[in-house]
Every structure is written in C-alpha cells, then in structure tokens.
Amino acid sequence: MSRSFTFRNGVIAALLLVLILLPAYVMLTGDRFLLTLFTRIVILAMAAVSLNLILGYGGMMSFGHAAYLGIGGYTAAILCFEGIQSGFVQWPAAIAVSALFALVVGALSLRTRGVYFIMITLAFAQMAYYLASGMARYGGDDGLAMESRSQFAGLLNLSNKTTFYYVCLALLFASLFLVWRMTNSRFGLVLQGVRSNETRMRAIGFPTFRYKLAAFVIAGVMCGLSGALIANHTDFVSPAMMFWTRSGDLMVMVVLGGMGTLFGPVFGALALLFLEQFLPAMISAMVRPFNPAGAAKAGEYWQIVLGPLLLIIVLFARGGIDGLLGTLSRHLPGSSERGHG
C-alpha cells in the first residue's frame, strides 16, 4: 500500500470516519433506521472481508460462505434458547463450531479445483441449510428467535443500539487489521502465490494444502463470528441466512468492492446494501412522472436493474470499486500512486 496521500486513501479515510461518527449523526437527526442499516453493513462487511481472504487473496472460489453466517448465528441462538446467555460462551462457541465446519469442508474440498471446488463448498452450505430446516426443536424452517442478546457480565449492553454498533465496528476493524497483517506476512505471500500459480508453488517446495486449509479455517471463523453478530442484530436466525443466494451476495460484495484488496469488501458491502435499500425507491421516483399509477409496482422490479448494474460495474471497472478509486487516483492531479500488488 502506498503511504502517500492519494484519492483512494482519502476516500478510505473518509469512509472510516463516516463509520466511526455515524452514531453521532444518528443522535443529532434521530434517524434510527440509518443506524440499523449501517450495523447490518458493518456485520456483512466483516463477512465479506473474511471471504475476501480466501477468494481474493487465496483464489479459492468458495461458494458456500454464508453457511458460516448461519453456523455462527445458530450457535449463539441455540445456546441462548438452551439458557446459556453469556456471550463469553456463545461467541467462542460460534468460533469453535465454525472452525470445525471449515476444517471438514476444507479438508474435503481443497484438493479439488475449479468447478469441483465450487460445487463441494456449495453442497456443504446447502447441507447446513437443510440441517437447520430440519431441526424441529429450533424452529425448523421458521427459524429461531434469540430471546435476549448475548450477555457480557454487565460490561457491555448489546441491547443498546449504539453500543452494539460500536462492538460490530470494532470487530470489523479488528478483522481488517488481522487481514492486513496476514496478507503481508509470509503466510499471506504463500496464499497469493497459490492464487497466482499453485502448481509452481508446489514445485518450489510449498505443501500448499495445509496453508489453504489454514486460510479456509481463519476465514470461516471470522465469518462465523459475524454470524453471531447478525443473530444479535436481528434477534433471530433462520435457515434462509445460509441459502446459496446469500453466499452469492457475499461474493458480489467481494467482487464489486475489489478482490484481493484490503478495503474492497467494505466498499462492496456498503454499495450492495445501499443499492438493495434505495434502488426500489429510486426506480419508483424515476417512473412516477411517466406512469404515476405503476410507479410503486416498478420499484418491485429493482433486482432486474441491480443485476445488469453489477455486471456493468464488474466488467467496466476491473478491480471493482477499489480498482476504480485507484484509476481515479492516478488521473487526479496532486497524487501519485503506482500499481500495487
């Protein structure tokens, strides 16, 4: 990463500042909805950051990453349902179960490549989905309410929305810091070597499987923790959290934001959730002058607009939003930045 001030770094700094100051803005305007939306963005950004570690840096096309959201979420909600409300138990348990799941999936999938790898990771995620649907004691298809948020011995009150937001933000920042250190370490260099040319990695003496597996488990753990956060955020878990389209959403965030870049997934999560949130209203507003009666209906077709929009961004801006910012950095006066690796 370049140390000099660039347009990209400026935007990243602004984004971090907005995230940190958001509760103050919410306090002034009383717009509680914005806090709810941003809490969701922050949590899913953390999940996207974890997927980016294996997909963006490691080149592993895991198509079942939402499974960890569900596993982490269900672990917290089930413990709560069974009377264990301490976050000191719930969260480590969410981490442990996610790690175990990642270890099994990784061990069985990481020796395969390409389409096979995608299919195996997808199949395991679907298995987790059906397993959750089948757990009658825990609500089956209907899901399970989390009666109270994780308790931290009075140290933190997660029912306070601002506190909860900052806990999520702190965990996102910790994940980013971890990924930043990791991707620049020896381990990270191995991961990027594997993405680039795995055959060559083995030829020069790396037993690549164990490094891929380690990355896979780390990513699973990080995502499992964000799953426990989602359960707290919505006070509810359901199998739908793990459906394959949710895994697709995480992939879109990573690709849209910029694969293999530190802040890309954060941009991606922000962009995707904003589009999901505001595209229907935007479409309605655009249609209204021409067809006032059909405007509301038109808004319901936002997904038809979203798909091609994402496609254009991904095709037009190789490297996603981060890539776009990098290009702008190079063309704006007063900043110099060389390509970074």
Binding site: F187, L189, I204, G205, F206
Partner: protein, 256 residues
C-alpha cells in the same frame, strides 16, 4: 558411478501407446553440466518431470545424494536441493519480480505459518532474493509486476528463483527457448558462470549453446538413450548423426 549426485536407473514412463521414457540410465556427477539433447518429442521434458516429481515413473529408480527419491513428492525434492526451471515459463505473473523470488527463498526458510511480520521487508528473505536477482541482472526490475517483463526476462526470473533456494542441482528445461540471440548469449554467459559451483542438468535445443557449455551430453531419441559421453564423442557418434540427419541445428553447430 558411485559418487554421482543424481543417479537414474531403468526409468520408464508410458503415455498410452507412447513410450516417453524407455529404461533411461543417467548419472550426473557433482559440479558437472550435463546436457540432454534429442529431437522434439524425444522425452526430455518427461524425464525432467520425473526428476522433479511432477510425474511418477512407471518403473525404475531415481537417487539423489545417495537417497532414493523415486516416490518422494515434488515439494520435498525441491527442499532437498533439486531445483527446476520450467520449459514453459511458469511464474507468478500478477506478483512482482521480487515477490516471485521471495517465494522461492521462503520455500526453503522453514514453514510459512508466520502471520504477523511483513515478509517483503524481512531481511532473511529479501537479501537472498535480491542477491539472486542481481546474479541474473534483474535487480533494477524487482518492484515491477512480473507480467510487465519480456519473455527473455521471464527466463531470467526463472533462473533467479531456481538459484534463490540455494539448490545443489539445477534442472533446466530449455532455458533459451524463445530467446533472441542477445538474450541467449546472456543466458549462456550466466550458465557458464554458474557451472562448477552447481551441478546442472540442461535440456536445450540450441546446439551451439549445448556444445559450448556441456561437460557431458546424453542423447535421447524416442525415450531411449542412444549415446552418452563427452561433447567430442557425441559429435563423432554415427548413430547421433543419423538421428539428427537433416536437422538444421546440428548442421549449423558442426559447420564451424
């Protein structure tokens, strides 16, 4: 030969009906540059692939430094000092030149479960990597992306990567392939410098280079060794002449 560093005995490999290696015997003694030549499809690349462990032989044995490595996996062979450069350049194209060589150093620097400190500024990796790059004349390109360099420079990166692991033996598969005359000449000069300090098995099409560099030459035709010996013996060998009859390279190399 008892004191050979690499001993190949009876190595055979079939691909369906094609016999790519036909009971190959080959000894390479420490410090020598041993060239393997032969027409296209003779099985040279297949031989190298079996030596590196990328392919496994159907039968026969490979011994390296007194131990049987016939069944040893690829990454372990690399760790005991057998380094290869690929015929088809196989680099980490989206990484920088330095990162390519750093990885080659790192492969021999213990396990890589080190998650915290910055690898790119780690002197234990960076210094040997820069030294290897300097040796092949690419030190000033270190921070460029590998994909931005020319084909000839890619071969130089390959060589730097092979050297970075401080190997005991270098397996080079057509290092001059696709190079212009200038680049070829530079590569020959570089190999001449490495020779003696390192044991080298060189597969090469450029006969001029082979006869200029090799201490001994083994000739492979249809997977079989038809001759092995010093350059002047190979030059005089009737069977070799026949196998190469009409091949321009051979005529050119011996017209002088």
């Amino acid at each position: 030969m008892a004191d050979a560093l690499l001993q190949v005995a009876g190595l055979s490999k079939r691909f369906g009906g094609i016999v790519a290696s036909d009971a190959i015997d080959l000894d390479v003694v420490p410090g020598e540059l041993h060239a393997v030549i032969g027409p296209n499809g003779a099985g040279k690349t297949t031989l190298i692939a079996q030596l590196t462990g990328q392919l496994h032989a159907d039968s026969g044995t490979i011994r390296f430094a007194e131990s049987d490595i016939t069944k040893m996996p690829m990454y372990e062979r690399s760790l005991i000092g057998l380094a290869r450069s690929f015929q088809i350049t196989s680099l980490f194209l989206d990484l920088t030149v330095l990162e390519n060589v750093l990885l080659a150093v790192q492969a021999h620097a213990g396990h890589s479960f080190r998650f915290w400190s910055d690898a790119r500024s780690d002197a234990a990796l960076r210094e040997p990597a820069m030294a290897a790059l300097a040796r092949v004349g690419l030190a000033d390109r270190a921070l460029q992306r590998a994909s931005a360099l020319s084909h000839g420079e890619h071969r130089q990166i390959e060589l730097a990567m092979a050297l970075a692991g401080k190997p005991r033996m270098l397996l080079l598969d057509e290092p001059m392939a696709g190079m212009g005359p200038d680049e070829s000449a530079r590569m020959v000069a570089m190999l001449r410098e490495l020779k003696g300090g390192l044991t080298i098995l060189l597969v090469e099409h450029d006969m001029e280079a082979v006869f200029a560099l090799a201490d001994r030459i083994t000739v492979l035709v249809y997977g079989r060794v038809i001759a092995s010996g010093r350059p002047e013996e190979i030059r005089a060998n009737a069977e070799v002449r026949r196998a190469y009859l009409g091949e321009g390279d051979w005529e050119r190399a011996h017209a002088r």
